[in-house]
Symmetry: D2
Subunit: 229 residues, 4 copies
C-alpha cells in the first residue's frame, strides 16, 4: 500500500504480523473522526487528558529502554526520546488543554481509565519481564501507528477539521523523523540480538505477540476516547 | 573428563566457553584448601560470613527469575530455588557461624566486601538489563560450580578435613539434584528462546560473556576468602 | 464490626481509608452469588480462568517483594508466599478447571481481559516505581480481602451453594493464617520505614492511594467475572 | 567551611552524616594529584576509560530515576540529566581519550574493574530494591562530590596542571548549575516523602547508609585510578 510509511524492516514485519488488528487501530472511528472533523470535542479532550497521563508512563517506559540498552546508539535514541516526550511532546497536550481550562497539575493528577492503565503498565512490564526487544515490541505500535496515522491524515483530512494541530504534530516532518530514527534503531537492535533473519528466530512469535497485544490496547484506547463523548 | 557432572547441554557449552577461567574458579587455592584441610579456619569463617550476605542477594536474583519467567515450569523452578535458599541453605551458614559465636543478625548486617558487592549486583543487573536467559547465564556459575566442586571433593577430599560438612552439603544428593533440575530448566529455557542450536544464535556470545564474567567474579570471591586468613 | 478479621494495624488503617470502595469489593454481587449459590457457573469458570492468569502475575509481584525486602523476615514471608501461590494455591484452580475440561496449559495461555491486565501490572509497577511498602499496599487488598470474604462466607453462605470449596479455601484456617502472617509482616515493614505513627508520615496518603486503587481494581475484576455469565 | 558549595539541605545533611568518609573521597590523593598536576597521565587515562564505562551505567541509573519519579518535576530533572550525560558529558571523555588514541568503541567495550562494577551496580540496585529516594541517596555522592571538588580545584589548582580541562568541566558554571538543580529537586523529593524534618524520619538512617556507602565506593574508584599508574 502506498500509504504505508517506511519505518524500517522490523516494523514492516510486525505490522503485517498484527493482521487486521493493525487496521482496527489505525483506521479506528476515532481516527476517522479526527480526519473528517466529526469527532466530538468532548471525546477529543477526554482522550487528550488520558493521553497526557499515558505519555507520563510511556516516557517511563522509554527511560526503561535506556536502562536496558546494550549499545551506546540504543542508549542515545532512548534518552533523546525520553527528553522529547517529557520536555516537548507533552507540551502540545498542556497548551491544548490549557485553552480548554485544564491545568497541567490537573493533567498529571488525572485518574487513569482502566484501558489506559492496562496499556502503559503492560508496556512497562514487557521491559521488566523481558529484554530490550520485548520492550521495543510493546513500544512500537504507539510510535509507528501515530506516525502512519499522521502521515495519512496529513494528506487526506478535511481541510476544515478542528484537529489540524494534532494531525500536523504527528504527520509533520519532526515526528516522521522520530519514526524513522526509532525504526532504524530497532532494526539494528533486532539484528544484533536475532541475526539477519529475525523472523526465523525462536523468540520471534513471542515478540509478535507483544506487538499485536499493544496494538489491541491502542484500539481499546480509542474506544475509551469515544466513550468520553 | 570423568569428573564433570552432567548438568545439561547449556552448562556444558558455557563451561567450555569460559576456558581456563572455569578451572581458575573450580580449582582455586581456596577450594584445594577445603579439600586438604589446610584452609585456615579464619579464612573459612570470613568466607562464610560474606557468603551469607551473598546468599541474601543471590536469593533476590532467583526471585527476579520468577518475575522474568515465561512458563509455569520456569516459575516453579525459580520459586522452589528461592524457598530452598532463604528457608534452608542459609541455615548451614547460620548454624556453622553460631558455633563460632556469630549470630544471624550479625550475618545479615555484615558489611559486604567489594568483590561480594560487585558479584551479586552484577547478577541482579543482568536480570534487570536483560531477559530470563541473561539472568540465568549470570546465576549459573555459582549453582553449577559449587555442584562440580562438591562432587569432586566428595570423592577426593582428605578424610580428616574439617570442612566435611561444606563438602557434603554441595557434593550430596540433594544439591546434585538441584543442579540437574536447574540445568534441565535452563536447557528448556534456552531452547524456547534460541531454538535447537543455541550456540548459533546471534545473542549467544553475549550470554557467554555473562557466564564468563560471573565465573571470574567467583574467582574474586575465593581470593577475598583467602584474604581473610 | 464483628465480621472484620484482625490482620494487623496497617490493614485496619488502609481498609478504613478505602471507604466504601472496600465494601464495593468485599460485598460485590459476585461475592453474594458465591454465598447464596446463585452465581452462574459460567461466570464462575470465566472468573476462575482469569484468576489463574491473575495468580501467575500476582506470584511475580510477590517475588518482586523478595527482591525489594530489607530484612530476612520480609524475605522469608515473601518467599513462602510465592512458593504457596505457585506450588499450591494455583492447584485449586487447576483441579476445578480440569473437572470442567480446561487444561492447565489452556489456563496459562488464556488471554487476559483488560481488567485483569490492568490490575496485575498496576501491582507490579507499584513495586518497580516505588519501594517495598508501595508494593505491599498494592498487594494487600487481594490477600486480605479474600481472607475477609472467606471468613464471612464461611459463616453465612447457603449450605447448598456449589461454591463451598472456594469458600473453604479462603475461609479455612490455612488461608486465615496466611493473612495474619502477612499482616504482621506488613505491620513490621511499615514500622521499620515509617515509625510508630505511620498514618502521620508524609508518604502515607500515597500508600493509601495505592491500596484504594488496587481495591477498585478488585471491583473491576468481579465485574469482569459477572460479564462472563 | 567556606569551600562547601550550597547544593541544598539534603546534601548538607548527608555530607555531614558521612563523616570523614566524605573527606576521604573529596580530598583523595588522586584529587590532589589533579590539583597539583602530579597525577601520572597513565593513572588519569586509566581513570578516564573506567569513568566512561561508569557514566554508561550512571546514565542507566538516572534513567531509572525517570521510571521511579512521582512528579513531573522529578521526571524532567532526571530526563534532562540522562540526556546531558549520554549526549554531552561523555563527549569530554571521548575527545580526551581520542587525543590519546583510544576510540569510543574501545571505551564502550572496556572491561570494568571490580571497583567500578561494584559501584554502578550498587547504585542501580538501590533503585531496584528501594524507591526514588534510595536511588537519589546512592546517586548523590558522585554528582555533588564532583561539584565540590571542581569548585575547590577551580580556585586552588596549580595554574600549570595538565588537568585543567577536567577541573573546568566540573568547576565551571554549567556543572555547578546541574548540582544546584539536582540538589533542589532532591530537597523537594525528600520533603514530599519524608516531610519537613526528614532527619527525624524512620527511614533516614537507611538513606544515610546508602549515601555513605556510595561515598566509600567513590574512594575505591580513586584508589583504582591510582593503581593504573
Amino acid at each position: 500500500m502506498t500509504d504505508v510509511p517506511d519505518y524500517g524492516k522490523t516494523f514492516a514485519l510486525w505490522r503485517a504480523g498484527a493482521g487486521t488488528t493493525w487496521q482496527g487501530y489505525t483506521c479506528h472511528g476515532f481516527v476517522e473522526g479526527l480526519a473528517d472533523g466529526r469527532l466530538p470535542q468532548k471525546a477529543f479532550l477526554h482522550y487528550l487528558v488520558q493521553d497526557y497521563v499515558f505519555l507520563v508512563h510511556f516516557s517511563r517506559a522509554w527511560a526503561l529502554g535506556v536502562v536496558k540498552s546494550e549499545t551506546l546508539g540504543e542508549m542515545k535514541t532512548c534518552a533523546t526520546t525520553v527528553d522529547a516526550l517529557v520536555n516537548h511532546e507533552m507540551s502540545l497536550h498542556v497548551s491544548t488543554c490549557a485553552a480548554a481550562s485544564i491545568s497541567e497539575e490537573a493533567l498529571f493528577a488525572a485518574a487513569e481509565e482502566v484501558e489506559n492503565l492496562a496499556y502503559t503498565r503492560y508496556v512497562l512490564d514487557a521491559g521488566v519481564s523481558g529484554d530490550f526487544l520485548d520492550l521495543m515490541a510493546a513500544l512500537a505500535p504507539c510510535v509507528f501507528g501515530y506516525g502512519e496515522i499522521g502521515a495519512r491524515l496529513a494528506k487526506t483530512a478535511a481541510p476544515d477539521t478542528p484537529y489540524g494541530e494534532w494531525i500536523s504534530t504527528y504527520g509533520g516532518p519532526d515526528y516522521q523523523d522520530v519514526c524513522r530514527t526509532v525504526g532504524a534503531m530497532i532494526d539494528g537492535a533486532v539484528q544484533r540480538r536475532l541475526g539477519a533473519e529475525p523472523a526465523d528466530a525462536a523468540r520471534w512469535p513471542q515478540l509478535q505477540v507483544r506487538f499485536t497485544r499493544a496494538t489491541a490496547l491502542e484500539v481499546g484506547f480509542w474506544d475509551m476516547g469515544l466513550r468520553g463523548a
